[in-house]
Amino acid sequence: MIELDALTKRYGDQVVVDRLSLRVERGELVVLLGTSGCGKTTTLKMINRLVEPSDGRVLLDGADVGSLPQHELRRRIGYVFQKVGLFPHMTVFENISITPTLLDWSADRIRRRVDELLELVELDAAEMRDRRPDELSGGQQQRIGVARALAAEPTVMLLDEPFGALDPLTRDRLQQSFSRIRSQLGVTAVFVTHDLTEALLLGDRIVVMRDGHLVQEGTPHELMVNPVDEFVEQMIGTPKRQAQLVDDLLGRGTPA
């Protein structure tokens, strides 16, 4: 369970995240949704202290994350990065096994875990193990990124627009894979995206952010039925409008 309590980040005079409070229940996936610059990534990074909060606190299963040394905290939380993230000088095996290695797992346990994870993210272990990141497609790289985040069996996962840079088909496949993996493992997750469809498809709950503030939180259904303002209404409505538009075009047989 993750609890954000009046979490605030200031850079000089600029307030990037403003007194944000939020509760993520065990096994739940909460999406932080908003346009770029709204503070959603900063919020995510304050959870594992890649960014130190200016004010407020983060509780992980009731304990303040500030009480642990940073590196120990981060070894307990899986993190999937937006773009690169995989280390180019390491093989797939080495990339996935980083956190278990830092935790001094036995070589045997690490080997079994890597094979298990490669299978989980639907990649062929024998074929992939010794490859380097630059020999992989974007989709494969991000599957490895997810595998790496899960390597040390974390109960919490943070994802920063993990599928944002992928083509739509690959993104769709990865979203489905991820959805399956999450329900299989039951991890608690915070997922940052600006992709509304992705938010609606993956999120148990969605938190809409704007200018560092929490605008509204709720299930996709709640937001759709009961948007607090026009901003949320427009935002949530967009995928539906687009879907209808596409449907109409196809229904008419020929585009106008």
């Binding site: 890649l50 940073q70 590196h71 070894r75 307990r76 993230g85 995989l86 280390f87 180019p88 980083i98």
Partner: protein, 505 residues
């Protein structure tokens, strides 16, 4: 050629000892310093600034300045120590700069990812930043290794044996085979080191075992060799204390040092170590500190550059007496005696010009000076002799040029310059058909060749001093000039000429 190649093992060993150890120390200093500089912002500018300043000091000066510095600290002031310190300092900048640039240039996405997966600062450095910066750091190391191999040839004037011994002695004695052997050997060594480092880096980056193992074993063998050859003399102890004979970097000095060495061995049975091609004041400083036991200097040089006297009209015996008294009293250096000849600064011209202009004395030159170009060695225009020549004769040359003493004679013979500040015993004066002008107004002080010995030798090995006394008064100017000519024109080695001299007495 074959006698030059016979020197290769000793010179190459010296060169390998210098370059490999300097690069190891340079890397050991620069990489950690570079890492710290990327962590502590203000340090970056300071560190790079200091390294940059060291780099702008001309390399020869950087090495030479170590001699008086070390002498002041009362440690070994000539030989391996000053050379290794200078070379190490010089090697730092490329490695340091590339370490800073390499680490600063790592994509922040990777360092954030490193933190994100739970690495400590140290793990982040070792597992992510250094591996990713490695190609850049290695490029710096390669630059450095080529620089250091080249600069190590300049260790010769501070008394460290290197391939520079070929080059300095070869240029002076007009032995271009020696110069070539030295240059080619240095170039090959630079290529070898560069190739090894490159093979190592590529092998590591591409995870190829074989080239890494091969490069590592060659490097390990080289370091083992350097280490063993460096340590062995230290372990031998000084049971058989060798007499250390020095020489400055010109033909006459090479011959005289060989004569001194041969004489000492013949009379006392003691072994000698020759340290040749030393810088002019380096030799005196080394004698004073006891790193050198004996060498030949010139009374006028000591008079002007050590005792800081103005050029005078005092006669030979007065200057000699003054030098002897003051060196013993204030410097702990002893004059054994004068060898019997003067090697003075003299103005030399092409004999054809001298005849055409009807010259004999320097004062005859006054009306013609405005049409003539004057060439002097590096120190000449800063010396009291030049001032005194100006004062006594008022010579106003059309132009004056500073050049290497080894090239000066060739330059006047070819007509690039018209008058040079020659050394009066130089064999090339006769060989290149040059004529000396008489110093009729006594502007240049006497330059008697004198045997100087250290206080240590005087106290601990008086039998050596006795052996040296035999040489006093045995070499006149004609004899010296003839011996110089044998080396400069006939291509004999200084040792051969010295052996002939000792055998003939």
């Amino acid at each position: 050629m074959s006698e030059q190649l016979a020197l290769l093992p000793a010179y190459l060993t010296g060169h390998v000892q210098l370059t490999l150890v300097a690069l190891l120390l340079g890397t050991a200093i620069s990489v950690p310093l570079g890492i710290v500089a990327t962590r502590v912002r203000w340090l970056e500018q300071v560190v790079l600034g200091v390294a940059g300043i060291i780099q702008t000091i001309p390399s020869l000066a950087l090495l030479a300045i170590m001699v008086p510095l070390l002498a002041a600290l009362q440690v070994q002031s000539i030989g391996y120590l000053p050379a290794i310190i200078g070379l190490t300092l010089y090697s730092t900048l490329p490695i340091l700069r590339n370490t800073v640039i390499g680490i600063a240039g790592v994509d922040p996405a990777y360092t954030e990812a490193a933190r994100g997966v739970g690495m400590t600062e140290r793990q982040q450095l070792w597992r992510v930043e250094l591996p990713l910066a490695m190609p850049v750091i290695v490029a710096g190391l390669r630059t450095s290794s080529v620089w250091v191999v080249g600069m190590a040839t300049l260790s010769t004037p501070v008394g460290a044996t290197s391939l520079g011994n070929y080059i300095f002695a070869g240029l002076q004695t007009r032995n271009y085979t020696a110069v070539m052997v030295g240059c080619v050997a240095a170039a090959l060594l630079a290529q070898l080191l560069d190739g090894l480092v490159r093979a190592l880096e590529q092998g590591v980056r591409l995870h190829r075992r074989a080239p890494v193992a091969a490069a590592l074993s060659v490097l390990a063998a080289l370091y083992l060799f350097a280490g063993v050859t460096l340590v062995r003399p230290l372990l031998a102890g000084d049971a058989a204390r060798q007499v250390v004979v020095g020489s400055k970097g010109f033909t006459e000095q090479y011959i005289l040092s060989e004569i001194v060495s041969g004489q000492v061995t013949a009379e006392t049975g003691l072994g000698t170590t020759l340290i040749q091609s030393l810088g002019s004041t380096v030799a005196f400083d080394a004698l004073r500190s006891g790193d050198l036991d004996v060498y030949v200097d010139y009374s006028g040089t000591i008079w002007a550059t050590i005792l800081r006297r103005e050029a005078t009209t005092e006669n030979r015996s007065e200057v000699l007496g003054g030098v002897e008294r003051e060196l013993a009293a204030d410097y702990g250096v002893h004059v054994v005696g004068a060898l019997g000849f003067e090697n003075t600064y003299a103005l030399a011209m092409r004999s054809a010009d001298v005849r055409a202009l009807g010259l004999r004395r320097i004062s005859d030159l006054i009306p013609h000076a405005a049409r003539l170009v004057f060439g002097g060695d590096y120190e000449f225009f800063g010396r009291p002799e030049w001032v005194s020549l100006q004062e006594r004769y008022g010579l106003a040359f059309a132009e004056r040029r500073t050049m290497d003493p080894s090239l000066m004679y060739q330059a006047v013979a070819q007509g690039d310059v018209d008058v040079i500040s020659a050394f009066s015993t130089d064999g090339r004066i006769a060989a290149l058909d040059l004529t000396l002008l008489e110093d009729d107004r006594g502007a240049v002080p006497p330059y008697d060749a004198v045997l100087l010995v250290s206080d240590r030798l005087m106290r601990e090995q008086p039998e050596v001093v006795t052996a040296l006394q035999v040489l006093v008064g045995t070499i006149d100017a004609d004899r010296m000039r003839a011996m110089n000519l044998s080396v400069d024109a006939d291509g004999l080695t200084p040792r051969a000429v010295a052996e002939e001299f000792l055998a003939g007495r």
